[in-house]
Structures are given as C-alpha cells and as structure tokens.
C-alpha cells in the first residue's frame, strides 16, 4: 500500500517530535565524553525574563480585558495581575563549534499551563557556516513581527502587543524544523527563513469556564517562510504561513452532535451544513504579514499589516494593522499606537424554519439558530484601539510601563474580549478604556 504524498508529509511531521528528543539525547551523550573532565552541568548559560503587571480586567461588567485567547476569561476577570505577569527561564549550551541547544519555559496564565505546554523552546541548532542555520525541535512561532518575542515584555515598549493584532493568535510555538539563510555585509543584511512542523494550543473563547468553552486546537502540518531585510535603523519583513487544522474543537463537536439529530436533519437539513462550515478539522488557514521597524535617532516607528484567510466559516478572518510612534527622552519613552482589525462578515444562512411541533419541543429550532448565529461572534474581531503609554527605564535591564487603551468594539466584536452575557450575545458598538501597568526585566 502506498501512502498519498500529503499523508506521508503529515506522518513525517508527526514523527519530528520523537526525532527531536532522540537527537537531543544523542548530542548530550556525545557531549559527555568530550567534556569528561568537567561536570555535565558545566557550560550552560542561564538567563530569563519576567513581567509583573496589573490590568483593569474587571473594570466593566459587560466585557473583560484579555491579553490573548489562551487565557481563562474568569480567572483574568478575578485577577487583574495575571493578565500580563509571567516569568521565562532560558538555558543554552554550545555543544560543539557549530552546534548548540536552547530551552525556554514560560510560566503564565493560560488554559493549558502544563509543563509540556509551557515549554516554548527546546531545539537543537546546527550552523555549518555564517549563512546557514538549521533547527530541529520546539521553536517559537514567528509568523508575525513580534510573535517570537511577545512574552518578553522588556523587548518592546507596550504593556502588551496590540490585542487586535496579536490577541487572537492561539499558537505560540511549534514542533518541527526550521532553516535560515542569511547574506549581507556591514551595510545591510537579508535573511530567508522557512519552517515546517505541527502545533497545538488550548483557548478559552467566550466567558464560560471549562467544558466546551476550553477548546484544543491542533494544526499539522504548519509551514511557512519569510524574508527580512535590515539596513541601519530600518527593518522590513514579509512572512506567509499556512496552518492545516487537524482536529475538531470541542464546541463544534457539541454543535454537530446536536445538528446531526435525525429529527433536526429531517426538518432543517441546512443546520448540519452550517455546523460543518464551522468545522475546524481539515480547515486551512493562511496568515500573511508585512511589517517594518524604523528607529532613527530617538524615534521609534513600527507597524504591521496582515491578512487571515481561513477556508472554514466563523473563525478569525480579515485584515489587521497597527502603527506605533514613540520618542525617547533619556530614560522615558512615551508612545502612541493605533491598531485595527476589520471583520464585517454577516451571517450568510437562511433563517431557521418553524419548529415542527409536537415532533420537537417548541422553540427547538429558534434555540439552535441562536447558538449557530452566536457561534460566529467568537471569531469576530472588528474593533480599533488607541493606546497611549509610557516606558521608564528605571535601571539597567529594568523598565516600568504604564499604558491606557481606548477600544471601540463594533457590533458583534467578541472574538478576543469576552462578555458574561448569555447566548444569544448581543454586543452593540461601544467604547471601553482600560489602564495597565507592568514592571519588566531581563536577567
């Protein structure tokens, strides 16, 4: 029996994690005799980063501020200091001239805070020369300009990267293979990157805690590539990647179980079709992004535009953009940011037929339709935010930040910030303001 090429490709990707572990063990065992006179623990570089923060996550009764959809909504609502606080620890060891291994664990609030899911990096790298680099293992996703360092608060000026742009991204790392080719001189450099692997995450879209509100999302394979050009104070970056969703999420499974009821299929067959359109399993999501950073003298100007194109209905879709301008005055850096996400999709299906009573209880179709319509809102991010912030570098590698975000959420924009409203949620355009503060450091 021969496997279709794509299946073989997927199978290869799934084997990558095992390969990584084996490769890691192999190189550690190789390393032992080479440094027999030293301890195995010698030569490791330990470093880390941290953020201690507080955000007004529970300021409003009808909507909650979240950093990203991986956080538990009610936990965040009750504990404003959990929104941005986190601690990262990193180790690295040069095994040989051209080989090194890097590991990183980040402790932060999220639905799945298991040790395995908290490991953001665990890879082996081979750099045969200045141009080429090959990595195998777990790596942070760098689909967007800041996505590979969004946990490292000290590395940017915001309290958190723009939520419209970064808050909805479920994945932070992947297990796989990455290669980089870099060329250039002292004047400018050009870097090409390509990766392939698999990834998973657990998200809490909506307000409820547990059950089908906690959804595991898996993508295999994921692949993509990008190009980065750097010259003096200017960096330009383009990236494109595709995520092939490989498992159904709990909420859609529950929906399908209901719409597949024979009585419902007999009188309203379109309901099952709508549930199928929402399906994640087998969906392909294309992310494309263009970003820039320009830091002439004391100025900081950076921005990014992106598009999300899914093949299924009801998940995140559409363009996003942000622009930040700041100026450093000694140890103080005030900045202002505008970020926007567009999503003007309507619910494209016909209204439900009347419930056939007494075959089905009165109101069955109306209730099911309300759920089907409401499900769409979990993928809508149609909003903009104007952020004003201040970074104060109070000491070496330590910064205090204060930021206020004024967000206008258009109708139905409940894709990131959840509401305790019961289904059917009816969010009408409104504006909210949240302030946050953090202390960021690296060590």
């Amino acid at each position: 029996m021969t496997l279709p090429t794509f299946d073989l490709f997927v199978w290869s990707i799934k084997k990558l994690r095992t390969c990584t572990l084996l490769a890691f063990c192999f190189f550690v065992s190789l390393h032992q005799p080479a440094y027999a006179e030293n301890s195995i623990v010698e030569g490791w570089e330990f470093s880390g980063f941290g953020t201690l923060g507080y955000a007004q996550s529970d300021k409003y009764d009808d909507i909650i501020l979240k950093r990203n959809i991986n956080q538990r909504s009610q936990k965040i609502e009750d504990n404003g200091w959990l929104v941005d606080s986190r601690l990262g620890l990193q180790v690295r060891k040069e095994i040989h001239n051209n080989w090194d291994i890097v590991g990183q664990i980040v402790i932060q609030e999220k639905v799945d805070n298991s040790v395995e899911n908290s490991i953001e990096m665990a890879f082996l790298r081979y750099q045969p020369n200045d141009a080429w680099s090959f990595r195998l293992g777990r790596m942070v996703l760098d689909t967007f300009q800041l996505s590979d360092s969004r946990d490292v608060g000290y590395s940017y000026h915001w309290v958190r990267p723009p939520t419209e742009f970064y808050g909805w991204i479920p994945f932070s790392h992947y297990d796989g293979f990455k290669t980089t080719y870099q060329l250039g001189d002292f004047d400018s450099s050009l870097r090409f990157e390509a990766f392939v692997g698999q990834t998973k995450a657990t998200v809490n879209i909506g307000y409820n805690d547990g059950g089908t509100s906690f959804n595991k999302v898996k993508a295999s394979p994921v692949y993509g590539g990008g190009i980065t050009w750097e010259k003096d104070d200017l960096t330009l970056r383009a990236y494109i990647s595709q995520f092939n969703m490989s498992e159904e999420i709990a909420a859609i499974n529950e929906l399908k179980a209901f719409t597949n009821n024979p009585a419902i299929q007999m009188y309203w067959p379109e309901a099952a079709q709508i549930a199928d359109d929402y399906s994640f399993d087998g969906a392909k999501i294309l992310y494309s992004a263009l970003g820039f950073s320009w830091t002439p003298k004391a100025w900081v100007v950076q921005g990014e535009v992106s598009r999300v194109d899914p093949s299924n209905f009801g998940t995140y879709e559409g363009p996003r953009a942000y622009l930040q301008i700041g100026h450093r005055f000694g140890k103080i850096l005030p900045h202002i940011t505008y970020s926007r996400s567009w999503d003007n999709r309507d619910y494209p299906y016909d209204p439900a037929p009347p419930t056939p009573t007494p075959t089905l209880p009165e109101g069955t179709f109306e209730a099911l339709e309300a759920i089907l319509v409401d499900n769409r809102l979990s993928g809508v991010v149609n909003q903009y935010t104007i952020s004003v912030g201040l970074r104060w570098d109070i000491a070496s590698q330590k910064a205090l930040k204060l930021q206020c975000d004024r967000t206008t959420l258009y109708d139905d924009s409940l894709g990131i910030y959840p509401t305790p409203m019961p289904v059917p949620r009816d969010w009408q355009k409104d504006t909210r303001t949240w302030c946050s503060t953090t202390f960021d450091w690296v060590f």
Binding site: S47, R135, V152, Y156, D393, T437
Partner: protein
C-alpha cells in the same frame, strides 16, 4: 475610581521598590578603545563595522576572518557609554534589542567578561576576539599583541 487608585498605588510601590536600583552613573569623559588580537591582521575598523559585530549582525571581520565579540559587565558605565556612543541609542534600547534576539532563540549576545585583565587576556589568547576597553596606552597594548582598531569618543 477605586480601580484607578489601585493601579496608581501598585505603580507607585513598584517605583519606590526600584529606587535603589537606579544607576546615577555620570557619563564617562574618557575614550573607549576597540581592540583585537594583533594576528587578526586588522589595523582599523569603522563605526558601522563595529556596530555590526557587536549587535550580532556579522560574525566576520572585513578581511573575512571569523570573529567573536566580548562584552563588559551589564550595567557598567563602560558598557553603557560604549553602546550609546557607538549606536547613538539609549542602552535600554540596546538591551531591549538583545532581549528580543536572545529570547526568541535567534542570536546570543556577546559573552560578558567582568574585568579589564580578563578582557585583555582573552584578546591576547584569541585571534578572533574583539572587545572594548577604557583608554589605555596603545603602545603598551601593542607590546601585548593587541591592536586598537578604533577609538570612540563622546559626541
């Protein structure tokens, strides 16, 4: 209103707790020399080349030989002045730049060496080394097999 008071209170407490960490070091008026091993066959480097080598953008000297940069103690006046004079940016921006590269696993910053004697010894022993020091007598450095390839001064 209580929420605003709470956020201001936490911000103030953080500030107070950090006061002791604030460094009030005056800017050095001395020059800073960039040094390499004499056997690297280099006689001088320009500012752009030094910037590339110390910001992890290049790992080769202009003559094609492999190089490895060494840094001074984090938080020292010498390090702050070196990067600020070299890049004309705040040391905080440089540290933020390195935080991004290091913690995304992309590039590691130059290895830190805490004192002058160890820096000089490292450059003496290592043909690919490049480092920076407070101003010394170039002739005495030359006697030790060390070449000054650039001198940075406060602008």
């Amino acid at each position: 209103m209580m929420k605003y008071i709470r956020i201001l209170l936490i911000f103030s407490l953080l500030l107070l707790s950090m006061v002791s960490w604030a460094d009030n070091k005056p800017l050095d008026s001395e020059s800073i020399q960039i040094i390499v091993n004499a056997q690297s066959e280099l006689t001088q480097l320009n500012r752009k080349q030094i910037m590339s080598l110390f910001l992890g953008r290049s790992t080769r000297f202009p003559n094609g030989k492999s190089t490895k940069a060494f840094d001074n103690k984090i938080g020292s006046a010498l390090r702050d002045n070196f990067f600020e004079w070299l890049t004309r940016k705040s040391i905080s921006d440089i540290d933020a730049y390195w935080a991004r590269l290091r913690y995304s696993g992309r590039v590691y910053p130059p290895k830190v060496i805490d004192n002058l004697d160890d820096i000089l010894e490292t450059v003496r022993q290592n043909q690919s080394a490049i480092a920076y020091i407070r101003q010394q007598d170039p002739e005495q450095l030359a006697e030790q097999g060390i070449t000054v390839v650039h001198t940075l001064r406060k602008r």
